[in-house]
Amino acid sequence: MTDAAVPVTQSAVEQFTERYLRSLGCSIEHSDDYWVVSVPDTTDTEIPHGKHTLVRGEGAPDGDDDSTKRLHPESAFFQRLLREAAERSPTGKLSIESESDIETPKWIQRSDVEVQNAQFVPYYDRTAAVVLFRVGIETVSEYQKEFLRAVAVDSRSEEHLPRLAESFLELTSVESSEAPSGSAELTQTEARPLLDTARELVINEIQDRLDEIHREASRAADSEVEEYRQLQEHRITELQEEHSNLSAKINDLSEQINTGDEDSRVQALRERKELKSEYEELNETLNELRERRDGGFPERQREIRERHSLDVQVTPLTLTEVEYERGEVDFELTNGSRGQTVTLGYGSGIGVTETVRCASCDQELSEQDPVQKISNGLECQRCAKER
């Protein structure tokens, strides 16, 4: 699935900044290395009114209240501008024009058959909701991963329209300055179920990536558990040694008690008593440790696994009502001297909406098995080769 994030190049930074400032009503004078921006008093923006110098590219960081600012991907000024612009109008409407190029399906593109003409006849207007989601995945063993994903859902049928999401991303690239737009007409009540559907879809779409990170985090947790287990194993061995030393000492003392004179017997008895209590304590610790080991250190395991657990945050950032049209497209196909017209269901921004089967074998035409002959209906490459 396409990443909705765009690389923040210097030229993207400049393009966006200029368009945004101008849309606010600011004027810009260009010089080679800097711009002078005038922000009129009436402008609705957090950027202070008055004149600013924007120095293009890297250099010293922005000053606090200096009217000279840096303009580059990481500059404070640009980041502030982005925040402001992002919050300004998170919902709205865009249209995908039916005049835009008609998209030829892959099973024609990959074949020798040529499209002489394509004509789209729209029958009805449809709308879809396209949501940009920020998905953050966090775990202790990995750096936080963040993705921006677009999900499109038909407003009426709640059908998932991945191709429309891609068209939406093309339409809203940083290069595009004008797209037919307006205010969204969707009501909260209408938008709510669409957003819920989109939420489920976005999780499905990142599932593979999620699984991968999930496995990595689990492996990291496992190796930490193993490390802990080894440490405890080591500790048990140490305690066992200590245990047997004590036991030997107690035996020696018992020997002395049996054979020694009165004084040394009393002394030995006293010592044995002390050692025995030490021995008991040690025994208890050891048994407890062994018990925990035999149980696989459940508490510690739980604690480690909890620490490595994955925290996924899904935040909808923008919601766009996208108008598109559905209807039929006529493709006039030629192959050598042969010609045929095929009529297929089509939507602007989503392409051909129906599958086409080989007239001979009834298999679906595809990128791998494109159309080959058009004389007797549409015939696939495999069938044509077999003849």
Partner: protein, 595 residues
């Protein structure tokens, strides 16, 4: 906000899965915006702003344009490696190119970039002791990065400087360990990282406990003895990448410890942390190198002088080992030129009032005065004369370790009508640049001390004469590296000059030729030397000790042969390891990852 709690405790691939908690953040702001009468601005711009906010700042090596092309020529695979280590591996990478592909350059670029982005407040580079100074010189000359080395006089301790190059053994020593560990380093670079493969050593322990944000480990041979080595080194960088030791063993290593299984999966994981370029995949193409070692019989007077100095050194050392450095110097000077020797002796005689053996030194001075023909200098004329007829503008570079020798050669060559240029550490850097420029334009002979060895490129010259030979093979390699480097279009000729039956002949014939020093590709030598260092040996000390301790001529020869055998063993081992690693990683495509 609502939460989906997924609790999975299924066994999969030998480990338990941890929990996943999915939180859906509230969409109230969006709904509010829907119900507002009019939006404040252009929705398209808001979408673009959100997309730009999520985008990575254009990740490029911005410092590249700051580099001086004359100081360092970057190769594509090096730029790629630096880029991947920084941007695709989150600044924790194992740089495991095959030998000779410039891993130091890769690290230099990484450090330069981090410096440019101001993410390098404190940097610690740990290297084998013998390579520390070379690292320092390369980073300074090629990348303009100044590091203090633990062998510098100005070095105080690990908390006193921000950019430090140190031998790993110094860092782990009782004296410094605590200070090193106390600090939170921004960047850690570990050269010859395979020496920390064993998790039971102090070195491993040091690296394991060090606190750092970014780390770059270098080795051409991540695997030394067994495949577990790879596990250990990688686990230092990315704990948990391979899971537990047992899982790694069961899953990736076949039972006889020799080959890898499940290679695709291993490669996927290694791709997250390791860059390995292979020679065959790069466009490095060195021209041929011809070595011509010429040994000459000294004149009887020269022989007498050599004997007298050697006897003096031997005697003085047996009485006072504290004078080792100066005695070593005398032993080196006597084969360079009488005039170099004279200066040192006079200095000792006239500056130290309570000098033992002053008589002996006086008599050496007399012997020096009696010498009228300096054999090496006479023979040098043969070489430069030949060059004048056969090489473009007769360009020859002559290296000597000593300023006095340098001056004498310059005078002599000038008196014979040659165009000469002098290069030594006393010049300012702009003077040095001018000298190299003049040499390129005017041709003739450049006589240089080892001050040249740092970073300057002389690919326009292809004849090099070692008038005397440093006892440190790295220095020899550096000299050769000035002319025989990427960009040299012609075959290179190296002339070595030595007097028969002197220490120089032993070093040259018995040691350097045995390890094929003069034919080593760049980088191979450092792996041999750092292996040698593993066995606790310093090359120069080793030579000197053998020289002064040998009971007889035969003993001396045997001693040098033994050292040569040792070196050769290290070299064979280094080669074997390189082959082994190539074998293991063969078929591994460790190039760009797909994400």
């Amino acid at each position: 906000m609502y939460i989906t709690h997924t609790c999975l405790y299924e066994r999969m691939s030998g480990y338990d899965l941890v929990d996943i908690e999915v939180t859906h953040e509230s969409a109230d702001d969006l709904f509010d915006s829907l119900s507002e009468d009019s939006n404040r601005g252009d929705h398209l711009q808001s979408i673009q702003a959100v997309r730009l906010q999520a985008g990575q700042p254009d990740s490029e090596l911005r410092s590249l344009k700051e580099l001086d092309e004359n100081s360092v020529k970057l190769l594509e695979h090096q730029v790629d490696a630096a880029y991947r280590a920084l941007f695709e591996m989150d600044g924790k990478a194992l740089l495991a190119d095959e030998v000779g592909l410039g891993k130091t350059i890769e690290v230099g670029m990484i450090l330069k970039e981090m410096h440019f982005r101001q993410t390098d407040e404190s940097v610690l580079i740990l290297t084998p002791a013998q390579l520390a100074k070379q690292w320092q010189a390369e980073l300074r000359e090629k990348f303009g990065l100044d590091f203090v080395c633990n062998y510098d006089d100005e070095f105080e301790d690990f908390d006193a400087h921000d950019y430090i190059i140190a031998s790993i053994d110094t860092a782990k020593s009782e004296r410094h360990r605590e200070t090193v560990l106390k600090r939170n380093w921004d960047v850690l670079v570990l050269d010859e990282a395979h020496y920390v493969k064993n998790e039971e050593t102090d070195r491993y322990d040091l690296i394991d406990q060090l606190s750092y944000n970014y780390a770059f480990f270098l080795t051409a041979t991540p695997i030394q003895n067994e495949l577990t080595d790879l596990y250990n080194v990688v686990s230092l960088l990315r704990p948990g990448l391979f899971g537990t030791r047992d899982v790694f063993h069961h899953y990736f290593v076949n039972s006889n410890q020799e080959t890898l299984v499940n290679r695709d999966e291993l490669q996927d994981r290694l791709n997250k942390v390791m860059v390995r370029n292979r020679r065959e995949d790069t466009d490095i193409d060195f021209t041929d190198r011809t070595i011509d070692t010429r040994t000459f019989d000294p004149t009887p007077k020269e022989r007498e002088l050599y004997q007298a100095v050697s006897n003096y050194v031997k005697g003085a050392y047996s009485q006072d080992q504290g004078q080792k450095l100066v005695l070593m110097l005398l032993q080196k000077e006597v084969v360079s030129s009488p005039v170099a020797l004279k200066q040192t002796i006079e200095k000792r005689l006239y500056e130290q009032s309570e000098l033992t053996h002053a008589d002996e030194l006086e008599s050496i001075l007399d012997l020096i005065d009696e010498i009228d023909t300096v054999t090496k200098q006479e023979r040098l004329l043969d070489i430069v004369e030949e060059a004048r007829d056969t090489v473009e503008m007769g360009r020859v570079i002559v290296f000597t370790q000593f300023r006095a020798t340098q001056q004498q050669i310059l005078d002599r060559l000038a008196s014979e009508g040659y165009t000469v240029h002098a290069f030594h550490g006393g010049h300012s850097s702009s003077e040095k640049e001018q000298i190299v420029e003049d040499f390129e334009e005017e041709g003739g002979i450049l006589v240089s001390t080892d001050a040249m060895s740092e970073g300057r490129n002389l690919q326009f010259c292809n004849i090099l004469v070692n008038l005397d030979l440093p006892w440190n093979p790295m220095r020899v390699e550096q000299r050769i590296g000035r002319v025989h480097r990427i960009g040299q279009k012609r075959d290179v000729f190296i002339f070595n000059m030595a007097l028969n039956d002197t220490v120089e002949e032993y070093v040259l014939e018995r040691l350097y030729h045995k390890i094929d020093l003069f034919q080593q590709s760049v980088g191979e030598l450092s792996s041999i030397l750092s292996r040698l260092e593993e066995s606790g040996t310093s090359f120069e000390d080793e030579i000197f000790e053998r020289l002064v301790n040998a009971g007889s001529e035969v003993d001396l020869e045997n001693d040098f042969d033994a050292m040569a055998v040792d070196l050769q063993e290290q070299r064979d081992l280094a080669n074997k390891l390189e082959e082994f690693n190539s074998g293991v990683f063969e078929g591994f495509d460790l190039g760009e990852s797909d994400d």
